[in-house]
């Protein structure tokens, strides 16, 4: 099993074309913990999350400046292989996106198979352990050959989590993983996040402040001055402190619902 790693952002600034989406974010995300990124829409929390595994640059015209260190290795160094970065830093998206042409089994092992793992026993083991870790094994073990698109929304999202952890990443990024799900599926995934932090560094973007309070150890509050301004990190501290005794007036306004 891979070791969870520390993520250090130093002056990370991200652009879409000429639009500056986030401005010099500096923060350290500790290994084996859950860090929540909260803030109003457009504050750049998703952009920051996507710059941690270099998904930001997939958008045409998007670029990132600054340093992003994974255990002291800068992933924006020109010599770094972007596919290796993404293998080490998994991601779960807002909407479940299982591959529609693949079965449940093929979806889970897609990351391994498309990266050259062929041995059947290895794939079988990875599929079972990932599905068990994602609390989906019991529901799908008798229909692994059926299409992943036939599952419910919550099951699909857990399938996507299983797919992400099957490649044994060191960091797991989650971009509002529950926003398309009902409360019961949301609860299942929150429980799962609590278990995943024993093995991974988890970073989760969420609009739901109760969720941030429930699942995370530390919380980062992002905000913008007004539309068109870049997002900035306002406060980053232990979740209990952010929610009970925030250091900044803006954070307090946001979490008490007076703003945003």
């Amino acid at each position: 099993m891979n070791m969870a790693k520390r993520v250090e952002a130093v002056d990370v600034t991200a652009y879409y074309g000429s639009f500056k989406a986030i401005d010099s974010i500096t923060m350290t995300i500790e290994p084996k913990s859950v860090t929540a990124l909260i803030g109003p829409s457009g504050c750049g929390k998703s952009t920051f999350l996507r710059s941690i595994n270099r998904m930001h640059e997939v958008t045409p015209g998007a670029k990132v400046q600054g340093k992003l260190m994974i255990d002291a290795e800068d992933i924006y160094d020109p010599r770094v292989d972007v596919t290796a970065v993404r293998r080490a830093i998994g991601m779960v998206f807002q909407r479940p996106n299982p591959f529609p042409t693949m079965s449940i089994y093929d979806n889970v092992v897609a990351g391994l198979r498309l990266n050259g793992v062929r041995k059947k026993s290895t794939l079988d083991d990875a599929a079972e352990s990932s599905l068990r870790a994602a609390h989906l094994w019991g529901e799908v073990s008798d229909r692994l050959k059926r299409p992943g698109g036939g599952l419910s929304g919550g099951q699909q999202q857990r399938l996507c989590i299983a797919r992400a952890i099957a490649v044994e990443p060191q960091v797991l990024l989650m971009d509002e993983p529950c926003s398309a799900l009902d409360p019961i599926s949301t609860l299942a995934i929150e429980d799962l996040i609590g278990e995943l932090k024993d093995r991974y560094t988890v970073v989760i973007v969420t609009h739901n402040m109760q969720q941030a309070a429930r699942v995370s150890d530390r919380t980062a509050f992002f905000s913008i001055e007004s539309t068109g301004d870049p997002g900035r990190l306002v406060e980053f501290d232990d979740t209990t402190k952010i929610f009970q005794n925030p250091g900044e007036k803006k954070t307090e306004d946001y979490i008490t619902g007076r703003f945003g």
Binding site: G90, F93, F99, T101, S103, N115, P147
Partner: protein, 358 residues
């Protein structure tokens, strides 16, 4: 308010309306046909086409009047619109059904062993017998080679436009693909004649132009490419960006994402586009006439010597002044349709298998 109180519905607090009995509209149709037949066929004023047209007009008028009186104007207009939509659908089906019916009626006459196992070698137009074996071979080889050339090229171009293309070059490619879509097949044939047959092949052929099935395949490739590129491009654009990102997030390289996630997802639609282009190519006569030349004999080698094709065979036989030639032409046309239909069905089944059963 008077109409409402007449119907007695809203004032009575009911949501019900008076409706025509279900059997009445079809009865009106039959009655219209009967009246029209009696008036036109009975008096000898016209044939059955005029009868049907007049019956349709009568049917619409009767529906308007009866439905308008019982159900009100809105419902009457709804009924007339329904009749118009069904009528348009039937009109659109008539040519298609007529072609299939005619082919089946006239094309089955020569379905015999001789037709499928013999060529027209040493058989003149005035003789009975003869077959299209050489033409079937030619069509399969020419379309096969054209498909082998056009499908990879077309898919690669579509992948470039959608996945890699940025800026000017892509715009230029798309523009020329659009222009190519409109190229008449005779122009594609002339292009291959001028470039391949008259300039390139003499170099390898002791200075003589080399007519061949391969030259026809080249012309068909030119015709197939734009259809494949444009249809594949549309299908690739429909693949959600979320799937590509899901694959990238697993550390899968871009080319593998395209090969293993994007193309399989778009496969059913791409297959439809490819089959359309193959069907078009199989039916082309002009390029074969110009660069393969046609021959009454069997030629298994597409790279050397004249070759026949089914569409060209139909053209020849349909134009020959002989009581036996039209039968050969009809059966060849039916064979061509059958080949295209079988290929299309096979391709669809294959595409469905490549995704997974739902």
């Amino acid at each position: 308010m008077t109409t409402l109180s007449q119907n007695g519905s809203l004032l009575a607090g009911s949501l019900r309306r008076r409706r025509l009995p279900k059997a009445l509209p079809p009865l009106l149709g039959v009655a219209a046909l009967g009246v029209s037949a009696a008036g036109i066929l009975g008096t000898g004023a016209g044939g059955w086409v005029l009868t049907v047209v007049v019956a349709a007009v009568l049917f619409v008028l009767a529906t308007l009047i009866v439905s308008g009186a019982v159900e009100g104007g809105r419902r009457a207009r709804d009924r007339v619109a329904t009749i118009a939509v069904y009528g348009a659908f039937i009109l659109a089906l008539i040519p298609l059904g007529s072609v299939v019916a005619t082919l089946l009626a006239k094309g089955t006459g020569r379905i015999d062993a001789e037709f499928f196992y013999h060529s027209m070698n040493n058989i003149t137009a005035l003789d009975s017998g003869g077959g299209a074996y050489h033409a079937i071979i030619g069509t399969l080889q020419q379309v096969g080679i054209a498909a082998v050339l056009a499908i990879p090229l077309g898919l690669a171009a579509a992948v470039y436009i959608v996945e890699y293309g940025r800026g000017r070059l892509t715009t230029v490619i798309r523009f020329f693909v659009d222009v190519m879509t409109g190229i008449p097949s005779i122009v594609a044939g002339l292009f291959v004649l001028a470039f391949w047959v008259l300039i390139v092949t003499p170099v390898f052929n002791h200075g003589r132009p080399g007519y061949s099935g391969f030259a026809a395949a080249l012309a068909l490739t030119v015709l197939m490419l734009p259809t494949i590129v444009r249809s594949a491009e549309e299908m690739l654009r429909l693949v959600p960006q979320a799937l590509r990102e899901g694959s990238y997030a697993l550390g899968v390289p871009k080319w593998k994402t395209i090969m293993r996630v994007v193309l399989p997802t778009a496969a059913p639609g791409i297959v439809t586009g490819v089959m359309l282009s193959i069907a078009r190519a199989a039916g082309e006569t002009a390029p074969v006439l110009l660069v393969a030349g046609g021959t009454p004999a069997i030629n298994f080698n597409p790279f050397s010597g004249n070759q026949e094709s089914l569409s060209y065979f139909v053209y020849e036989q349909a134009g020959a002044a002989s009581q036996f030639a039209p039968g050969r032409a009809w059966t060849a046309a039916l064979t061509l349709i059958a080949i295209v239909a079988i290929l299309t069905i096979a391709a669809k089944l294959l595409a469905r298998r490549s995704t997974i059963g739902r």
